[in-house]
């Protein structure tokens, strides 16, 4: 069987990639994807611990993290759409004014 340490190190590597991505990237969608990477590494840590200490609470936690990730994705992407649409409509207004 693969030792617990390996899973934890894999999770830590994925987590730091997520953090670095969040800090370095400027594109909001990619920043958001980096956050998803971080959440995944957290989930991996939970599942690994849950298996090795034989306690199901960790898997339940993962279940809730997924629910939250889905809710955050819906809200976050809606904010991105609102930001984008607002800018688009602003441009349209300017164009109208120029015609007049």
């Amino acid at each position: 069987m693969v030792p617990l340490n390996y899973f934890l190190i894999l999770a830590a590597i994925l987590f730091s990639i997520g953090v670095i991505g969040f800090v370095m990237k400027r594109n909001v969608i990619t920043m958001f994807m980096s956050i998803e990477l971080m959440l995944n590494s957290v989930n991996l840590t939970f599942v690994a611990f849950s298996r090795y200490i034989q306690n199901l609470s960790g898997q339940i936690f993962v279940f809730f993290v997924m629910v939250i990730a889905a809710a955050e994705a819906a809200v976050g992407l809606a904010i991105i759409v609102a930001l984008y649409r607002n800018r688009e409509s602003l441009n349209v207004d300017e164009a109208d004014r120029m015609k007049l």
Binding site: V42, F49, N55
Partner: protein, 485 residues
């Protein structure tokens, strides 16, 4: 037959939250049947819900203490009940000032109040929870509602950007917080804070993994209260959000996050005290100093108050570092006081919003004493209270917090805190000088709706009353000491 799922008792414990949920959905349904002119009724519905929930909470408080429910997922002790009262008061005051503001902005809909009530439910569970899963999901319920509310003015570019920034940094900090929680779960094998404390006590004191867990957990939580170095989101979110929502998030969610921090650190991480007290002391000094020094150079009143609120988070950390009865009472009384004085001052900022004038520059307040003498005097009282000058309520809060660190012999911290309080006098008085000494630049008067007037009257009375006659309020705040049991 359902005994293994839940007990009849469980429903009683969360009765106030069930009422709030009912009214949150009710306000959205009623909204469908209201004409534009009657949208103000939504605010009434929400207020009735809050009053009803407060009554239910009062009944719960007088019936029994330390109610534990849902398989020990929540513990509705007097600490939790105290903070729930603070949230209910703060939310009610915010709803009072919202109706007029929303109709000026042209976004007067029922879902605004529904979101506020739902985020209130999240905060209530945050102070009741004793299990990390419950605490985390309650925190997210509060946070997700806040992201939406900050971006509520969806045709306003600034509000969109504030929501974007708040959301990204909030989600990022949740990720870091979760990583800490996952390690804590790994080394203790449980999500119950009391079990975690037991298991941590059995481990060697200098434990690198536990240290990593504490540091990530602290970093994630500091984001939520705007502690340095995780404070950058705060001024932008405060400036861009609708002013009423800024009023809301500067008080209630901050109190909820602080209560969560108290519960996690005092109950769960007590055995690791030697590793988190030094970290928090450094953060506390940085937060106070940076908040106050940056506030000096602000010309926008919203940003000035945002930095002042960062500094206040620093003062509040003093109580946690002391971690004794004085400190916890101090934090509790400070949030009650903060709810009144901060909502008072933000209400005045909201009232300065007129149809064509945003009114958020300090210069817009020039000569306020000639235009609106009443408002100028009120502003003076709230500013004095924020600065912590007797006989206002702010003095009582600061007194308890500063005394708590002296009791635990953190003299350096106490001296730095007092120096910071002195620095803060400078920028609070700069506002006073503009209001009282400058010539007025325009003739625009404030628009004071009945809701705003009520809110101002309540906040003024309590800001002075707590300062002059603090005993009953301190006794009320000492309810929070059940945290130590």
């Amino acid at each position: 037959m359902f005994n293994q799922y839940f007990q009849p008792n469980d429903i009683l414990i969360i009765y106030p939250e069930l009422l709030l949920a009912l009214f949150a959905m009710g306000v959205m349904i009623i909204d469908l049947f209201l004409d534009r002119a009657w949208k103000v009724l939504n605010a009434f519905t929400a207020l009735v819900g809050i009053a009803y929930a407060a009554y239910a909470l009062y009944r719960l408080k007088s019936n029994a203490l330390n109610l534990s429910g849902y398989n020990h997922a929540i513990l509705n002790d007097s600490f939790a009940i105290y903070f729930q009262f603070v949230f209910l008061i703060a939310t009610a005051l915010v709803i009072l000032i919202s109706a007029r503001y929303l109709s000026i902005e042209g976004e007067n809909r029922g879902d605004y109040y529904a979101l506020i009530l739902l985020s209130l439910i999240g905060m209530n569970f945050m102070v009741m929870g004793i299990d990390l899963i419950t605490l985390y999901i309650a925190l997210e319920l509060m946070a997700v509602s806040e992201y939406i509310l900050v971006g509520y003015l969806r045709t306003n570019r600034q509000s969109n950007e504030a929501a974007m920034k708040f959301f990204l940094l909030g989600a990022f900090s949740s990720g870091i917080l979760l990583y800490g929680i996952s390690l804590l779960y790994g080394i203790s094998g449980s999500t119950d804070l009391r079990v975690i404390a037991q298991r941590l006590a059995e481990r060697p004191s200098h434990d690198p993994i536990a240290l990593v867990a504490v540091v990530t957990l602290t970093a994630g939580l500091l984001f939520k209260i705007g502690g340095v170095p995780f404070h950058q989101w705060l001024p932008d979110a405060y400036e861009g959000a609708p002013s009423t929502i800024t009023t809301f998030i500067s008080v209630a969610p901050k109190a909820a996050s602080f209560a969560l921090i108290l519960r996690i650190f005092i109950v769960g991480l007590k055995p690791l005290e030697t590793s988190w007290v030094p970290v928090l002391s450094v953060v506390c000094v940085l937060t106070m100093t940076l908040g106050n020094i940056t506030a000096i150079s602000q010309s926008n009143i919203k940003r000035l108050l945002a930095y002042s609120s960062i500094a206040h988070a620093g003062y509040l950390l003093l109580g946690l570092i002391a971690g004794n009865e004085y400190g916890i009472t101090g934090i509790a009384i400070y949030f009650l006081v903060y709810a009144f004085m901060n909502i008072g001052i933000w209400t005045l900022v909201v009232a300065m919003r007129r149809k064509d004038l945003i009114g958020d520059q300090i210069q817009d307040m020039a000569g306020m004493i000639y235009k609106n003498p009443g408002a100028a005097v009120l502003m003076l009282v709230f500013l004095l209270s924020l600065a912590g000058i007797p006989p206002t309520a702010g003095f009582i809060g600061k007194y308890y917090l500063f005394a708590s660190v002296i009791q635990t012999h953190h003299y350096v911290l106490a001296v730095i805190a007092v120096l910071n309080a002195a620095i803060s006098l400078y920028y609070y008085f700069r506002v006073v000088v503009v209001m009282f000494m400058s010539e007025k630049t325009d003739e625009e008067k404030m628009t004071l709706s009945p809701g705003v007037l009520t809110s101002l009257a309540v906040t003024l009375v309590f800001t002075l009353l707590i300062g002059i006659y603090p005993e009953p309020f301190i006794r009320f705040a000492q309810n929070s000491l059940s945290l130590f049991q």
